[in-house]
């Protein structure tokens, strides 16, 4: 692969900024879609009757669509800022990505379809579809990112030879399990905020039980990463970077503390910090690669050999600086307006 830039040039710094923004977009996506995927997976586990199912679906209903656009943006930014990495990532992970898309499609329509027909069978079909298609994206995203952390077998022209079954290696699966567990925890905490009565009590109990699992899995995943990936290399070269690891650790501790104190918004916020911190840890770990190559690191897709031109990166930066604050502004307003505990009045029959 040809390098488009000299290290230290304007082009390099622009690409570096976009690398950070790329990581932030993924982190925000995991934080936001994470809880609605988690709630969706928990649907058959936590809801005991129709009213509770409605409450669970209504708890994410106003938000999931806006949340999922962060995925579109993360994809779009990969395309715009690092077209070579986008081309390789998406063609290399072809089947896994298609499956991810199909599950997200089914899940999206299930929100809209299930209540439109008064039939128990119809509702059951869409509830099942909703749960399965909330669980699978979490798993697939975890597998995909596990494989990216570990490195994908790229050849000289950058084409991955992984295939779907190649992705299902032990570390990839570990990533999948970690993602699913994190999203379940995140979703349970969201329900603590929005659900009332028995549903709330069950969600709180589940979150309390899940927490030690998240801690153990996080520690195991980090230990596993230190053995099979090069994620820690940057940290060993610049030990100051280890500060980043404090974010998920603090997040975990606060999550449990606030949950115990029944401060649910704060507990959920701590969970956001934990997810954001974990994502950031991984992203910093792979820098300057966007898709590290394994076993041959020379074939990695990096910010140097994958980035767009200076002009495109500049224009995109301008667009992001104007629009991202606006997006954050109105999404914040939507959360403020709609994220209140769900009462009988909010569940229409």
């Amino acid at each position: 692969m040809n390098n488009f830039m000299e290290i230290g040039s304007l082009h390099y710094y622009l690409a570096m900024i976009w690398f950070v923004l790329w990581g932030v977009l993924w982190a925000v996506y995991f934080i936001l879609d994470g809880f609605d995927l988690g709630v969706g997976t928990l649907l058959p586990v936590l809801a005991k009757n129709e009213a509770e199912k409605r409450a669970m679906l209504n708890s994410t209903g106003p938000f999931w669509d806006g949340n999922e656009v962060w995925l579109i943006s993360a994809g779009g930014v990969t395309f715009a800022a690092f077209p070579y990495a986008y081309a390789q990532m998406f063609s290399g992970l072809y089947t896994a990505l298609m499956l991810l898309l199909f599950t997200l499609i089914v899940r999206g329509v299930s929100f809209e379809f299930r209540s439109k027909v008064e039939s128990d069978t119809w509702k059951k079909i869409w509830d099942t579809a909703h749960a399965v298609c909330s669980f699978l994206p979490a798993l697939l995203l975890g597998v995909a990112f596990g494989n990216i952390f570990q490195g994908i077998p790229l050849n000289e022209v950058g084409f991955s030879q992984a295939g779907l079954f190649g992705l299902l290696n032990p570390y990839g699966i570990a990533g999948g399990i970690l993602f699913v567990t994190i999203f379940l925890m995140h979703g349970a905490l969201w329900l603590c905020i929005r659900a009332t009565g028995d549903l709330h009590a069950r969600a709180e109990l589940l979150a309390t039980k899940l927490w030690p699992g998240v801690v153990v899995l996080t520690v195991l995943f980090l230990a596993y990463s230190s053995v099979t990936t090069k994620l820690f290399n940057n940290y060993l070269v610049y030990p100051a970077l280890f500060v980043i690891l404090l974010l998920p650790v603090v997040g975990l501790v606060l999550m449990r503390t606030y949950l115990g104190a029944k401060k649910y918004w704060m507990a959920w916020g701590a969970s956001c910090l934990y997810i954001g911190g974990t994502a950031l840890f991984g992203v910093v770990g792979i820098f300057p690669a966007i898709i590290p190559s394994n076993p041959n690191p020379a074939n990695s897709l990096t910010i140097m050999n994958s980035a767009s031109s200076v002009l495109t990166l500049e224009i995109m930066l301008g667009v992001a600086l104007v629009f991202v604050p606006i997006v954050i502004g109105y999404q914040f307003w939507v959360y403020k307006t709609f994220a209140t505990p769900i009462t009988e009045n909010d569940i229409h029959y």
Partner: protein, 437 residues
């Protein structure tokens, strides 16, 4: 089949399926926002009822449109990775801007619209309706600028083995893109108009909620009439620009073989891939005039275009005629409805026909896009990159697997969605109908 053909099929299937839902989203969102505004201004509850009734159908349609759209963005990477790598510097940024500036707004506020009836004032709720409509149509701007680049690439320079952006203003002011926009949006409004007319006619025949559906019909027919005329007139200018920029598409859509001045248009043509099978009843100079506004202009024939640079002729030819034929029919149908709108009950046959006309604007738009995209072949970016050079180096097995799965899934979901929309449409409006998840 090879990966190229499979990927083309997959793209065509994904796009055309997505495009069952997009035009209604573009057009109906504007009509609903108008209804809500009318309610805020007049306080007439019938307009609130209207926004809720049409809104319910809209939401099912919107959901299918959004979820099938995700596949499109990712398909450029999965199926067309060499295209993505070659023009990503320009094309990728346009998609990213679309997501950031438009799609976020649309997707966030559709949730607010859906769940906000009790939480927002009528005025604020109407504003949200306009935000959804505006953002949806703003999405179309960016997508069409991206498509405009594929049709008539501008603002790039070949450097570092790829097309790099060197003039962003040239990219976003591309005449082709804006002509497409002013063809597409009026066409979407025509479609929404016919959609509202068709469902209203069904209820008017059954004399259910007559006042409600008469008012709905009036909005639908006015919008349809105005915008099908706009679409047709704009189509002429669009055609002029296309004739200049893509002579091969012009020659294929007319199945025009011999380069000549004062080129005739044949009323009867049976096209073939190597020359017309039948060619009769010429109108002298008509083709020259339609293409260049000049009876004596020279029109390049397919004989002078190397075979490997010709688009598939029969498909392009038929797509063009389907689009124009249906467009003419829409003007007649909408014109008749508008003239007789005060005494519709005297024309039961017309009311009976209209529900069956709902699919026609969809077919016309499909044909239009077929003309645009198939007619551009063998180029993925006109004159710059061939479709065959753009496809991903993935296995045919992987593509076949996902293609079959996609078709199955889309068919199931599409059938369920359309069935739901018909069910909701037939049920008619409810009083204070609760909006549910």
């Amino acid at each position: 089949m090879d990966v190229l053909m499979l990927s083309r099929l997959q793209f065509a299937a994904a796009t055309m399926f997505h495009f069952i839902f997009v035009p209604l989203t573009l057009g109906l969102s504007i009509l609903i926002a108008y209804m809500e505004t009318k309610y805020v201004r007049t306080g007439d509850e019938v307009y609130l009822k209207m926004a809720k009734f049409w809104g319910k159908i809209f939401l099912v349609n919107f959901a299918l449109g959004v979820v099938t759209g995700i596949t499109l963005e990712f398909q450029f990477g999965t199926n067309w990775s060499r295209y993505s790598a070659y023009v990503g510097d320009i094309f990728g940024s346009l998609l990213a801007i679309e997501a950031t500036a438009a799609f976020f707004l649309e997707s966030t506020f559709i949730g607010v619209w859906h769940f906000g009836w009790d939480k927002l004032s009528p005025k604020a709720h109407a504003t949200v309706a306009w935000l959804v409509a505006g953002a949806s149509n703003l999405s179309a701007v960016w997508i069409l600028i991206a498509n405009g680049f594929m049709q008539d690439p501008k603002g790039y320079v070949l450097r570092n083995g790829r097309a790099e952006l060197n003039d962003f203003i040239a990219v976003i002011t591309n005449k082709w893109a804006w002509l497409e926009f002013f063809h597409q949006i009026p066409a979407a409004l025509t479609l929404a108009g016919f959609f509202v007319m068709g469902i209203s006619a069904w209820h008017l025949l059954r004399k259910s909620e007559t006042d409600f559906f008469k008012k709905s019909f009036n909005i639908g027919v006015t919008v349809a009439l105005v915008f099908c005329i706009v679409t047709a007139v704009e189509g002429h200018f669009h055609g002029n620009n296309m004739s200049l920029k893509q002579p091969a598409k012009l020659a294929a859509m007319e199945s025009h073989w011999v380069t000549q001045t004062n080129a005739p248009m044949y009323l009867l043509i049976v096209p073939g891939e190597d020359g017309n099978l039948v060619e009769a009843l010429p109108i002298p100079g008509a083709l020259s005039f339609l293409a260049y506004n000049d009876f004596n202009a020279e029109v390049k024939g397919l004989n002078d275009i190397p075979k490997e640079d010709r688009p598939p002729i029969t498909i392009t030819f038929l797509a063009f005629r389907t689009m124009v034929g249906l467009g003419t029919l829409f003007i007649l149908l909408a014109g008749f409805g508008w003239l007789k709108r005060a005494k519709l009950e005297q024309y039961p046959l017309y009311l009976k026909i209209l529900p069956y006309c709902i699919p026609l604007p969809y077919i016309a738009m499909w044909a239009g896009w077929t003309l645009a995209e198939v007619g551009r072949q063998p180029w993925i970016v006109y004159g710059l990159m061939r479709t065959s050079d753009a496809v991903s180096p993935v296995g045919a097995g992987e593509v076949s697997f996902s293609l079959v799965l996609m078709c199955l899934l889309y068919t199931l979901l599409g059938a369920a969605g359309i069935w739901l929309m018909i069910k909701l449409a037939k049920k008619g409006p409810e009083d204070n109908s609760p909006i549910q998840v």
